[in-house]
């Protein structure tokens, strides 16, 4: 198990280095942060002064090694836009993002999984068709369209909810709904497919043939086996908790990590972008590790495999 975890962590570390390097190269070669941050009409002397102050007049490879050296010593750098530490800027925004993504994740789980299971168990029924029509609509409509639609109905027409901002819990309802509906639709489709596949397996027929009640067959045999692919997609959703609301945060003017990232990328504010990427990569790595461990819990064959690998 230890070797398994170590190999996963090593892979994660390599992934993070590659992600950060890729981001550095793309951001630094696609525009001069000094010109972008200082603006189109800034005096050339001011742009030069800014460039020198932030070391942007150095060769790119020198900047890269400086940056990596700083990361190695725990310094994630400062925002070129306002001079504050990048980690502080990002940390300030995390609660706002989690305030959307965590409730949205709960909605996805509580709506999507039961809907998928129900639809699978009542395949081709009217309810199944209705649920799947809703699910297809839910995940094919882009989140910015869905968000604007919800704003038009609930903020502009009915006046029940605010259209954007982050001043009270009421402001979170529409963005959470936007995120939750789309994700629930994905989970419903996924869960239904997984359940249908499992329900068609010989061991389900065997379980039924040996006299188990249908409820017992579903709970003891179908659900645990169908959970494996569902856990994969849930793991991805958990990994997206930090950066999974970029579009929705923009549509609803919600000051979270997603909006910070959009602004930082547009400004080529490298330290902030890198800090967010590190955070996102770390979240993804933890989520993937958790999923791998859960695979072992859900599937005894994998547990055995890990033990064998550990022994070998």
């Amino acid at each position: 198990m230890v070797r398994f975890l170590l190999s996963r962590l090593l892979r994660a570390a390599v992934t993070i280095v590659l992600v950060v390097t890729f981001a550095f190269v793309v951001l630094r070669l696609s525009g001069d942060p000094a010109q972008i941050i200082m603006g189109a009409d800034a005096p050339p002397e001011a742009v030069d002064a800014f460039r020198t102050a932030w070391g942007l007049d150095q060769p790119v490879w020198v900047q890269y090694f400086h940056y990596f050296g700083a990361i190695a010593s725990g310094d994630l750098g400062r925002s070129m836009r306002d001079g504050r530490e990048a980690i502080v800027l990002v940390a300030e925004r995390i609660p706002a993002t989690l305030a959307l993504t965590v409730p949205a994740l709960l909605i996805k789980l509580l709506l999507g999984i039961p809907a998928g299971i129900y639809a699978a168990l009542h395949r081709n029924s009217a309810v199944d068709r209705a649920l799947m029509v809703a699910a297809v609509a839910g995940f094919t409509v882009p989140s910015f369209v869905l968000g604007l639609l919800l704003v038009l109905v609930f903020a502009v027409q009915l006046g029940w909810l605010p259209s954007g901002g982050q001043e009270s819990w009421r402001h979170a309802i529409l963005p959470v709904a936007t995120l939750g509906i789309g994700g629930a639709a994905v989970l419903a489709r996924f869960t239904r497919s997984a359940m249908l596949e499992v329900l068609g397996q010989p061991y389900i027929r065997t379980a039924s043939a040996k006299g188990l009640t249908w409820r017992a067959v579903v709970w003891s045999h179908a659900l645990p086996n169908a959970a494996i692919p569902t856990v994969t997609i849930v793991g991805f959703m958990v990994g997206s908790l930090i950066a999974g609301a970029v579009v929705v945060e923009s549509v609803f003017s919600w000051p979270g990590v997603g909006r910070l990232m959009v602004v930082a990328v547009a400004n080529r504010d490298l330290a902030v972008v890198q800090c967010i990427l590190l955070l996102v990569a770390a979240t993804m790595v933890v989520a993937n590790l958790t999923v791998d461990v859960l695979y072992g819990v859900l599937d005894p064959r994998l547990r055995t495999g890990i033990r064998r690998a550990g022994a070998g």
């Binding site: 800034a42 005096p43 050339p44 604007l148 903020a155 259209s163 609803f252 003017s253 400004n267």
Partner: protein, 534 residues
């Protein structure tokens, strides 16, 4: 939550009512903007952008003000009067009884500080250093870009003398008839020396500079919210709003929806194609007008095709500005007479004409130049400027109609557009006149030390010579002649750009709020520009 309508309706005659009656009943207004601050600071030299210009005047003022509601003319500000001593020297008399937001009275020392440590740090205006550094300013050296902006704004400033407690003297190294205009720029805001000394750091200071304007900065949450509160000791009268809440809503649909939903009283940065959408709702209207910024196409004359000025002239004759203004701006902006503003006063050349729309002349010039359809790359940003892409597509068709092969190449940012790489030929640009003189307009874009010359897009020896002479000239007749020559070079003989039209800023608002939009980026909410009723 804002309660603007109720409080406004309950408030008859915001401006005329006795001060006592206004207590606690002034409205809180919520204003949705696309961006609050590019730099996350509000120190004017660090935030020299349209979003900065929008709010600067609400919390900070200059010795000489600009009346943005009346043709951008210079008016007394924190100096109640000024007098030219000679072409290098200007005496100003400070207004008495002006109080900063921290309650302190403005003094001559604040003026010296504002044009000293605050802008130039320990280097001083001349770059030779200062002997006495303000106590408490250690570690608060302004960032180098602030000093660079200050030097660019006051290139000839030699010293400021305190003549007595209310009289200040500005002394320039060189003659400069535009010194008044330079002093009126937001960079020259007078801010509290004591507040600077008390601030923890330069950044802390720059996030909430303490000025004398009608509102003080009460709260700032980056990329989210800026709250300004009424400064009731304001020398110009009691501010008509109790609080101004600027909320950042990046999406235009979000700003309009929030306006319709009653969450916002104002929605800024409305594109022209949304004006009709807003005004279909009888409760709202869109105000706006041409502002002190002119859109242009800029040439790189080193591009092989554009090296021949006849091709550039042909491009200029091919653009039907009037059609563009009607099609994309619904006629709500206007075409300037060359790269100049009416606010230039004596320097305004009222008889100057743009190269006329004349496709036949364009074709003739192209034939004469031997142009054979070689491609002219046009590096384009995705609507950095309002209507930018649509404008580009229309122009490309106009050029195609006379035989010009202009090819759009999309770019992501200005650095990519101006990158000195093969294929740089044509781009979009704009020019803001930060005060009423050509020195504050076109000479900020072209000439020695400007971006266009440094990145090699356009240079012209005669232009450099005449523009340098204009900057130092004090005789108005000679200055006008020099400016005319400059425009002739830039727009006719060796075209550097094609003038398009004035930019225009549009603000949607509740129709029951009486308010006037300014002729610049600035939003004015001072005494005299806010009320209720039809």
């Amino acid at each position: 939550m804002p309660l603007p309508r109720r409080s406004l309706l309950a408030f008859p005659g915001l401006l005329a009512a006795p001060a006592l009656a206004q207590a606690d009943q002034r409205p809180t207004l919520t204003i949705a903007v696309q961006k609050l601050s590019n730099s996350n600071t509000f120190e004017p030299p660090r935030e020299q952008s349209n979003v900065g210009f929008r709010v600067h005047g609400l919390y900070a003022e200059q010795l000489i003000g600009t009346d943005w509601l009346e043709g951008a003319r210079l008016v007394p500000g924190l100096a109640e009067s000024w007098r030219r001593v000679d072409a290098r020297t200007l005496d100003l008399t400070l207004r008495a009884g002006v109080r900063f937001h921290d309650g302190r009275e403005m003094t001559a020392e604040d003026v010296v500080f504002s044009f000293g440590e605050r802008l130039f740090g320990t280097q001083g205006a001349t770059g030779e250093g200062r002997s006495g550094i303000l106590a408490g300013s250690a570690g608060k050296e302004p960032p180098p870009e602030v000093i660079a902006v200050a030097r660019r704004t006051y290139p000839g400033l030699e010293r400021i003398e305190v003549l007595d407690s209310r009289r200040i003297r500005f002394v320039n190294r060189t003659p400069d008839v535009t010194l008044e205009g330079r002093i009126a720029q937001s960079v020259g805001a007078i801010l509290s020396r004591a507040a600077f000394a008390a601030a923890e750091s330069w950044l802390a200071w720059a996030r909430a500079p303490v000025g004398t304007g009608p509102y003080r900065i009460a709260e700032f949450r980056p990329d989210t919210l800026l709250v300004l509160e009424a400064h009731d000791a304001y020398w110009g009268g009691r501010p008509p709003a109790r609080r101004l809440r600027f909320v950042e809503v990046p999406e235009v649909s979000g700003r309009i929806n929030g306006l319709f939903a009653g969450e916002f009283d104002f929605a800024c940065d409305i594109p022209p194609d949304q004006i009709a959408v807003v005004e279909r709702n009888p409760r709202f209207e869109v105000l706006g007008s041409p502002i002190n910024n002119i859109r242009k196409f800029a040439f790189d004359k080193t591009h092989p095709v554009l090296a021949d000025p006849r091709v550039r002239r042909a491009m200029s004759h091919s653009v039907d500005r009037e059609a563009i203004v009607q099609a994309l701006w619904a006629g709500r902006t206007r075409i300037p007479r060359g790269m100049q503003m009416e606010s230039y006063g004596e320097m305004y050349l009222s008889d100057w004409e743009n190269p006329r729309f004349d496709p036949a002349e364009a074709r003739r010039l192209l034939r004469e130049a031997g142009y054979r359809g070689d491609p002219i790359p046009y590096r384009l940003l995705n609507n950095y400027y309002t209507n930018q892409v649509a404008n580009a597509q229309i122009a490309v068709e106009m050029w195609r109609a006379v035989g010009l092969n202009v090819q759009i190449e999309m770019r992501e940012n200005f650095a990519q557009v101006t990158a000195r790489t093969p294929g740089r030929a044509l781009r979009d640009w704009s020019n803001t006149s930060i005060f009423g003189d050509p020195v504050a307009g076109i000479l900020r874009s072209f000439g020695p030390r400007t971006e266009a010359e440094r990145n090699g897009e356009w240079t012209n020896e005669e232009f450099d010579r005449v523009s340098a002479a204009l900057e130092a000239e004090t005789d108005m007749a000679r200055r006008r002649a020099q400016f005319r020559r400059i425009l002739a070079i830039l727009e006719r003989e060796d075209p550097a750009y094609i003038v398009l039209h004035h930019a225009a800023a549009f603000t949607a608002k509740r129709r029951d709020i009486r308010w006037r939009a300014s002729s610049g980026w600035a939003m004015v909410f001072g005494p005299g520009n806010l009320g209720t009723g039809a």
